[in-house]
C-alpha cells in the first residue's frame, strides 16, 4: 500500500494533537501491561516456590509406590528396586535424579517418652536424603548402612532426648513380627513444617532393610524431573515400564498444592482479562472522542478522494501506535521493576498466611517469555479488534453531512 506512509504520518500527528489525552492513555496502557506481566511474574514465582517446597516435602515430582501403599503405608506394601526396564526409563533426559526409599510407620522411644513416627530409610548418596529439611546439629548419614538416626528438633524436644543419646525404634517385619533396634541420634534437623519436625526420622536404608527383614525391597521411588509442571508424558512412560506400581505426579500426591497452583493459573488469566477490559474501554472511548472531534477533517479527506478503507486504516494505525507506545513503556517498566527486586521481595511481614500454603518468605518473580508474549499479544490484538468498530464507523461518515456541520 503506497499510502501507508501518508496514513502513518497522519495517524502519528493526530496522536499528538491532544497530547494530554494520549499521554494519559499510553500511561494507562503501560500500567495495565505492567500490572499484567509483573503480577503474573510474581504469581509464577510464588507458584514455583510453592511447588519447590511441596516437592521437597513430598518429596519428589513423581513417586512410585505399591498400588496399596497410599491407603496402607506399611511394610506389607513394599516392592522390588527398579529392574532393567524401569532403570532404562529412569536414565532418560527428562529425569534429573531419583532415589529409592524405605518408609514405614514406627514407634520411637527415649528413656522419657515414646511417639509414633514415619521411619524413612535413605541412601545419603541419592538426592534429598533429608527431603527439604536442613541439618541443624550433628552430622548427616554417611552411607546407607549408617547406624545413626536423624530426627527433627521438635521431636527431640518431645522425647526429651538430644544429640548423642540412644533411642529405640520399633516396627513390624513382613510377617507381622515386632522388630526393634537401638539407634544413636547423630543429627537434628529443622523444617519449615512443624509436623515434619515432629514426625519424620531418617536412618540408613540398608540398616532399615536389615532391621525390618525386607531384603532389598523398598517402599517408594522418588523422582526429580527437569520440568516442574508438564509431567504427564513422563508419568505415562514410567507407568508403562512399571505396570505393577502406582505412578503419581506431585499434583496428585498433594491435591491441595495441585489445585492451588491451578487456581493461581486461572487467577492470572482472569487478572489479565479484567485489566484488558478496563483498558479497552478507555481505549475505545479515547478513539471515539478523537474521531468525533475530527469528523469534519475525515469528511474533507473523503471529499478529496481518500477511500473509506484508508480512513479506517489511518484510525487503526493511530490505535496501534497508541498501543505500541503503551506496550513499550509497560514492558520497560516490567524489566525495571523486576530488576529492582531480582534478589526477591521480602514478604515476611505478610508471609504467615503464605507459609501455610507452602511459600517462602522471600518472593522471587519468575518472568516467562510466554507470559510476556501473551500479555502483549492480548493487549495489541484485542486492542486493535476493539478499535475496529469506531474505525469502521469513521470510514462510513458521509463527506457531505460532516462537511456541512460547521
Amino acid at each position: 500500500m503506497k499510502q501507508l506512509q501518508t496514513l502513518s504520518t497522519l495517524a502519528w500527528r493526530n496522536l499528538w494533537r491532544n497530547y494530554r489525552r494520549t499521554l494519559i492513555m499510553t500511561s494507562a496502557i503501560a500500567l495495565g501491561v505492567w500490572a499484567m506481566i509483573f503480577m503474573t511474574a510474581m504469581l509464577r514465582g510464588m507458584m514455583a516456590d510453592m511447588i519447590t517446597q511441596g516437592v521437597n516435602n513430598l518429596p519428589g515430582h513423581i513417586q512410585l509406590h505399591h498400588p496399596e501403599y497410599r491407603a496402607d503405608p506399611s511394610i506389607v506394601n513394599r516392592f522390588a528396586p527398579p529392574g532393567d526396564e524401569l532403570l532404562e526409563q529412569l536414565n532418560q533426559a527428562d529425569i534429573k535424579s531419583w532415589s529409592a526409599r524405605v518408609r514405614v510407620p514406627a514407634v520411637i522411644a527415649s528413656e522419657r517418652a515414646s511417639r509414633g513416627v514415619n521411619l524413612i530409610g535413605v541412601d545419603p548418596a541419592e538426592p534429598l536424603p533429608l527431603d527439604g529439611n536442613l541439618l541443624k546439629d550433628g552430622r548427616s548419614l554417611e552411607t546407607e548402612s549408617d547406624r545413626g538416626l536423624i530426627m527433627g528438633a521438635k521431636l527431640a524436644e518431645r522425647l526429651e532426648t538430644r544429640l548423642g543419646k540412644r533411642v529405640v525404634l520399633m516396627s513390624q517385619d513382613p510377617d507381622n513380627n515386632v522388630v526393634d533396634r537401638g539407634f544413636r541420634v547423630v543429627g537434628i534437623f529443622e523444617s519449615e513444617l512443624s509436623a515434619t519436625e515432629e514426625n519424620q526420622v531418617y536412618a540408613g536404608r540398608a540398616t532399615l532393610q536389615k532391621m525390618l527383614r525386607m531384603d532389598q525391597k523398598i517402599s517408594e521411588l522418588v523422582i526429580l524431573t527437569e520440568e516442574q509442571r508438564l509431567l504427564q508424558p513422563t508419568v505415562e512412560r514410567l507407568a508403562q515400564s512399571a505396570p505393577h506400581l502406582e505412578v503419581l505426579p506431585w499434583y496428585e500426591l498433594d491435591r491441595f498444592l495441585g489445585t492451588s497452583v491451578e487456581t493461581f493459573d486461572g487467577f492470572s488469566m482472569v487478572f489479565i482479562v479484567v485489566i484488558f477490559l478496563a483498558l479497552s474501554f478507555g481505549l475505545v472511548n479515547t478513539l471515539v472522542m478523537a474521531i468525533f472531534e475530527r469528523t469534519r477533517e475525515i469528511g474533507l479527506m473523503q471529499a478529496l478522494g481518500m477511500t473509506p478503507a484508508s480512513i479506517c486504516v489511518q484510525i487503526l494505525l493511530e490505535a496501534m501506535m497508541l498501543l505500541l507506545i503503551g506496550l513499550l513503556v509497560g514492558n520497560a517498566l516490567v524489566l525495571l521493576s523486576l530488576h529492582s527486586i531480582k534478589d526477591g521481595l521480602d514478604i515476611s511481614g505478610v508471609a504467615e498466611g503464605m507459609a501455610l500454603m507452602g511459600a517462602g518468605s522471600v518472593l522471587k518473580p519468575a518472568l516467562h517469555t510466554l507470559d510476556v508474549i501473551r500479555a502483549n499479544g492480548v493487549v495489541l490484538v484485542l486492542g486493535i479488534v476493539a478499535c475496529a468498530l469506531p474505525a469502521w464507523q469513521a470510514s462510513r461518515l458521509d463527506p457531505i453531512t460532516t462537511m456541512n456541520h460547521t
Binding site: T9, R13, E297, L304, M306, T406
Partner: protein, 245 residues
C-alpha cells in the same frame, strides 16, 4: 478538454417528514475553460448541484457526464477515485487538514495519487508560489490567515490538473480584501491555465467576476446569462486550447 453535461438532474431530500427538492430537473452544460458562477438564495440548491457535479453525492435521477464518463451511477469507491483524479474542491471553510503543513496539504492529494516525493515537492512549491504563498510552505493551517488558508486550498485544488474546480462559497468567511484577492487568483488561473471553474456564491462581488452567471431557486435554474462585458477579459488570456498543449 472536457465538457460537463447535466440532464434532468433531480435530488429530493426528506426533512421533518416533508420532501424538499434540492434539484428539480436541472439541465446544464459547461464548456471547457468556462468561469461559471452559481448564485441564488440560501437553500436554492447550489451546494446540492456542486456535490452532484463533483461526485460527492449521487442524484436520484438524471445524467451527469464529465468528458465521456457518466458519473451519476458510480459506486462510492469509483466516486472517490473520480474526485481524486478529476475534480478540485474549494469549500467555504475547514478546507485543510490541521495536522499537515501548507505544503503537506497540497501534497496530500498527490500522495493519494501515488506521485513520487521529488515531483510532489517540486509541484507543491511551484503552485504555492503561484498562489502567493512562497515562504509559508511549512506553516500549519492554524498559523495562516483565513485568506491564506483558502489560497492553500486553491493550490491543492489545482495542483493535480483537475478538469474541473468546484468552489462552494469560497469567500463567505473572508473579509472583502481577501475575498477579492481570492477571486483575482481564480480568474488568473482560469485565464492562464484554462481550468474550468464553477463557483457557488450569493456574494455580489464574486458574481461580478464571472462571465457566465447561473441563478437558481428552489432547485431549479431560473436564469443562465453570459455577460458580454466579460468576454473581452477572458479572451485577453491564453486560450484554453493552447494551454492544453
Amino acid at each position: 478538454m472536457t465538457s460537463i453535461l447535466c440532464q434532468q438532474l433531480c435530488k429530493t431530500f426528506e426533512q421533518g417528514g416533508s420532501l424538499i427538492k434540492g434539484l428539480d430537473h436541472v439541465d446544464l452544460s459547461i464548456e471547457p475553460g468556462e468561469f461559471v458562477c452559481l448564485s441564488g438564495p440560501s437553500g436554492s440548491g447550489k451546494t446540492t448541484l456542486l456535490n452532484a457535479l463533483g461526485g460527492l453525492d449521487t442524484p436520484d435521477q438524471g445524467e451527469i457526464t464529465i468528458g465521456d464518463q457518466r458519473i451519476d451511477q458510480l459506486s462510492k469507491k469509483q466516486l472517490a477515485h473520480l474526485r481524486l483524479q478529476k475534480i478540485g474542491f474549494v469549500f467555504q471553510a475547514f478546507n485543510l487538514v490541521p495536522v499537515l503543513s501548507a505544503r503537506e496539504n497540497v501534497e496530500f492529494v498527490m500522495q493519494l495519487q501515488g506521485i513520487d516525493k521529488a515531483e510532489r515537492r517540486q509541484r507543491s512549491d511551484t503552485i504555492l508560489a503561484e498562489v502567493g504563498l512562497a515562504g509559508l510552505e511549512q506553516r500549519r493551517p492554524a498559523q495562516l490567515s483565513g485568506g491564506q488558508q483558502q489560497r492553500v486550498a486553491v493550490a491543492r485544488a489545482i495542483v493535480s490538473n483537475p478538469v474541473l474546480v468546484l468552489a462552494d462559497e469560497p469567500t463567505a468567511n473572508l473579509d472583502s480584501n481577501s475575498a477579492s484577492q481570492l477571486m483575482d487568483l481564480f480568474q488568473q488561473l482560469n485565464q492562464k491555465r484554462g481550468i474550468t471553474f464553477v463557483i457557488a456564491t450569493h456574494d455580489q462581488r464574486v458574481m461580478s467576476y464571472c462571465r457566465r452567471l447561473i441563478r437558481m431557486q428552489d432547485g431549479r435554474i431560473v436564469s443562465d446569462e453570459t455577460q458580454p462585458g466579460k468576454i473581452a477579459l477572458q479572451s485577453e488570456g491564453v486560450a484554453p486550447q493552447e494551454q492544453a498543449l
